[in-house]
């Protein structure tokens, strides 16, 4: 039912050419006069920070967003892409940033759903599974069509997505940040598959905000910053510094780890035989964070990190075991009691349990402190103290705009996160649990936040850094644990490298039983 790929291009015309593409969302110019040219057989990077407009540009290409201006040519022919159907018919395949497979369906059912009905509208299992297997093999990818997507690893799911995107004969394949959910070995497999597809004459648009990755796999790189193209360069003619400068707009200072705090023997945060409350039974966990130490928990999203964080912060009851802070048993303490005992928390879902979006910056910053005598007179709040507190923290953490009266929800995600960290650190907690503290932030904000964490560490705080960003965990942590299907394992001290941690994220070093279990907790 889908049309096949367009005939081969007139000589010399690029597979894809976008010119003068502009798109505004209200005040925001998400794309301003953007041009992008991709040749057949090329892997072309679209590099940019979060919010640079990469996804918007690709949504324009896929007919999901209607641009205010711009032309799109495929194989030198102008096309009007007014919806996903038209885009597919024009030979464009898309792997979205958030994987979009139906989890209770089998691989074949997912592919058939996307392809459309066979003649007669029947779904004949054997026929369709054979079709799916053959189709994937034709692209040089291996699939098991009869398996349920829910049982597949994220790397395997992505392979299904790629096959799905190619099903309708796509000659231009777009992958929106495909590596964020993958372990390093899976990333390597993905790169092999992409090179193979490019070698067979497809044009691949590879979207990323990771410099090393882009230099590794792409031929040319187009950099986007705040909706404006900052040039297209050949990977061979550039390096990370140059790309970072284009992407961020200025050079970065880098992380300053500073002198290592002499790790005290004091185990400030201690978790003993902890059983988290989850659907499937989990083996008990043991770990500790000492004074002046950052312990990282690495792992692909959804491997039990959320449960650990919620259990530590008191949002989720522990089934068994003990959580101690500075020697004090907090296993059954409420979130408030934990905060008073000196536990700071930067939750995963900051807009839900971190800040109150409708309240002002000043009020949000006082959410913990407002019970203190200094903040009130009797039952009444002292507005002047609220304001002074806010002004001080806003200045110290460089929040933009520096206005304590604004509703926090009107600030960008990065600034909300800065405020959250400001609030938690200003309480001078003994231990801090930080879940993905820099997710969604731009490079500069990320660096600033990471430096704050390092400063806190240097001042003796015990920090548990739970992050799906392997680079972040490697850069900040003194010790690393890996979360895999609800279990934790510590990375040997002499092997704190990308390779080892990456393999462990894929299950190496965990008991075989853990590897066989369904991935969803």
């Amino acid at each position: 039912m889908e049309s096949t790929a367009p005939a081969s291009p007139p000589d010399g015309a690029p597979a894809l050419s976008m010119r003068g593409v502009s798109k505004r969302f209200g005040e925001l110019a998400a794309l301003a006069d953007v041009g992008l040219e991709v040749k057949s057989g090329e892997i072309h990077a679209l590099l940019g920070e979060n919010g640079a407009g990469k996804t918007t540009l690709m949504n324009v290409l896929y007919g999901l967003v209607k641009p205010d201006a711009g032309r799109i040519e495929i194989d030198g022919r102008p096309v009007a892409l007014d919806g996903p159907r038209a885009a597919r018919a024009a030979g464009i395949g898309m792997v979205h940033q958030h994987l979009a497979l139906v989890e209770p369906f089998t691989v074949a059912e997912n592919l058939v759903l996307d392809r459309g009905p066979a003649r007669g509208g029947l779904y004949r299992r054997a026929v369709e599974e054979a079709w799916a297997r053959e189709l994937a093999a034709g692209f040089g990818l291996a699939l098991e069509p009869d398996r349920r997507v829910a049982e597949l690893s994220l790397g395997e799911r992505q392979r299904v997505e790629i096959v799905k995107a190619l099903t309708s004969g796509a000659r231009i394949l777009v992958l929106d940040e495909p590596t964020t959910v993958l372990t390093p070995p899976e990333v390597r497999d993905l790169f092999v598959a992409l090179r193979e597809l490019a070698a067979r004459g497809r044009a691949v648009v590879f979207i990323s905000h990771k410099l090393s990755e882009v230099l590794d796999i792409c031929g040319r790189i187009t950099v986007l910053r705040q909706g404006v193209v900052q040039g297209t360069v050949a990977a061979a003619a550039t390096d990370e510094q140059d790309l970072a400068r284009r992407m961020v707009g200025h050079s970065l200072g880098g992380l300053s780890r500073g002198p290592r705090f002499p790790v005290g023997q004091a185990r400030l945060l201690e978790v003993v035989e902890l059983g988290v409350d989850s659907a499937a039974p989990r083996p008990a966990m043991n770990f500790h964070v000492s004074e002046g130490e950052i312990v990282g928990i690495a792992g692909v999203e959804g491997n039990g990190q959320l449960e650990i964080c919620e259990t530590l912060s008191g949002m989720r009851p522990a089934r068994s075991g003990t959580v101690r802070l500075g020697g004090r048993d907090l296993t059954r303490a409420s979130p408030l009691e934990r905060a008073r005992a000196g536990l700071g928390v930067i939750p995963e879902d900051r807009t839900q349990s971190g800040v109150v979006l409708e309240m002002s910056v000043a009020d949000n910053l006082a959410l913990r402190a407002h019970r203190r005598p200094a903040f009130r007179r009797g039952p009444f709040r002292l507005q002047s103290v609220f304001d002074a507190n806010a002004r001080e923290l806003v200045a110290k953490f460089e929040v933009r705009p520096p206005d304590p009266d604004r509703a926090i929800g009107t600030l960008s995600g990065g600034n909300q996160q800065k405020l959250l960290l400001a609030r938690e650190l200003s309480e001078r907690p003994t231990a801090l649990v930080a879940a993905n503290p820099t997710r969604g932030l731009d490079v500069a904000a990320t660096e600033a936040l990471q430096n704050r964490l390092l400063q806190a560490r240097a001042a003796g705080m015990a920090i548990l850094l739970v992050s799906t960003d392997l680079d972040e965990v490697l850069a900040l942590s003194d010790r690393i644990l890996v979360a895999f299907r609800g279990q934790l394992a510590e990375v040997p001290a002499e092997q704190l490298d990308r390779e080892t941690v990456g393999l462990m994220m894929g299950g190496v070093g965990f008991p075989a039983a853990a590897r066989e279990e369904a991935i969803r907790l």
Binding site: P84, L101, V102, F105, L113, G121, Y123, A279
Partner: protein, 297 residues
């Protein structure tokens, strides 16, 4: 022989529940909870009654019920699917409308006295040869056509959901609507189609109660069976086979209760549908794993 007759009666009384719960199953698999199934059945039963009396033909009565059910669900779909109103609120409101409307029209037409209406009912049809078998013959093969239809509908719904492309699209609408939309299909259209099919089935269920079971129409004829059908879908873990199993056992249990006469006060029996609705809502949130992921959204 009493056991035997009870079993045959159980089979007959499963039929309307099967129509209703298979209809609800289609809707829920597509991601829509319709708690006004009860109202849809009631309105259909009334429409079937009026048409049968007017035309003197049971099949035209059945057709009127089906049309009324589809119309009712079209209104429900317009509000919940097209206008994206809250499904539970719309369902509650439409139930109230259905109870009020049938009550009003009934009195308008047949008088407040509630003088007993007598309707023709679908006669039993003996399946040639099979009905002559000892025991199973009269048990399974001496029912009206709608009973056979109900039991044939179980595999039909199962196959429609799992062995056809529209079934795939319907389940996708209930599990991950964004994906269906990204594939270039309209989630709204799929859900509306599922609800219209549900309307037709609710229509048959309503017709059954008036034209095959009671042979009359009274206010509140459905007596909570729409709510029970909702519970059956949940307890049947959202599968056609599960629905068959649960409706069979629940009807059997009901007869057993009646036969053993535990002396449960009538008022408590009247509460059962409401309690069941609560149980359903509580279970839907608990039994998330088997439920369609996008149910109610």
């Amino acid at each position: 022989m009493i056991v035997f007759e009870l079993a045959a009666a159980s089979i007959r009384m499963s039929a309307p529940l099967l129509y209703a719960s298979l209809g609800e199953l289609l809707g829920e698999k597509a991601g829509v909870v319709n708690i006004s199934l009860e109202g849809a059945m009631l309105v259909s039963a009334f429409a079937g009654t009026v048409a049968t009396l007017a035309c003197g033909n049971l099949w035209l009565g059945l057709a009127a019920s089906v049309a009324a059910g589809m119309l009712f669900l079209a209104a429900f779909a317009a509000l919940t699917v097209a206008l994206a109103c809250d499904q539970i609120l719309v369902g509650t409101a439409m139930n109230l409308v259905a109870f009020g409307l049938t009550g009003l029209l009934y009195r308008e037409r047949f008088g407040a006295s509630g003088a007993a209406l007598t309707l023709p009912i679908f006669p039993p049809v003996r399946v040639p040869l099979l009905a002559d078998l000892p025991f199973v013959g009269p048990l399974l093969f001496e029912h009206n056509l709608l009973v056979y239809g109900a039991f044939l509908l179980v595999p039909a719904v199962h196959l429609a959901l799992h062995a056809t492309w529209p079934g795939l699209a319907l389940r996708a609408a209930g599990e991950k609507p964004e994906t269906l939309e990204a594939a270039g299909y309209s989630v709204r259209r799929v859900r509306a189609a599922a609800l219209l099919a549900q309307g037709a089935l609710a229509g048959v269920a309503g017709a059954y109660l008036a034209l095959a079971h009671a042979g009359t129409f009274v206010e509140g004829l459905t007596a909570g069976r729409g709510f029970i059908a909702l519970a059956i879908v949940v307890s049947g873990r959202w599968t056609a086979i599960g629905v068959l199993g649960v409706s069979g056992t629940s009807v059997a249990a009901q007869f057993h209760l009646q036969a053993s006469d535990l002396g449960v006060p009538y008022q408590f029996v009247r509460m059962v549908p409401y309690i069941l609705t609560l149980v359903v809502l509580a279970q839907v949130s608990r039994a998330r794993s088997a439920a369609p992921a996008a149910l109610g959204r």
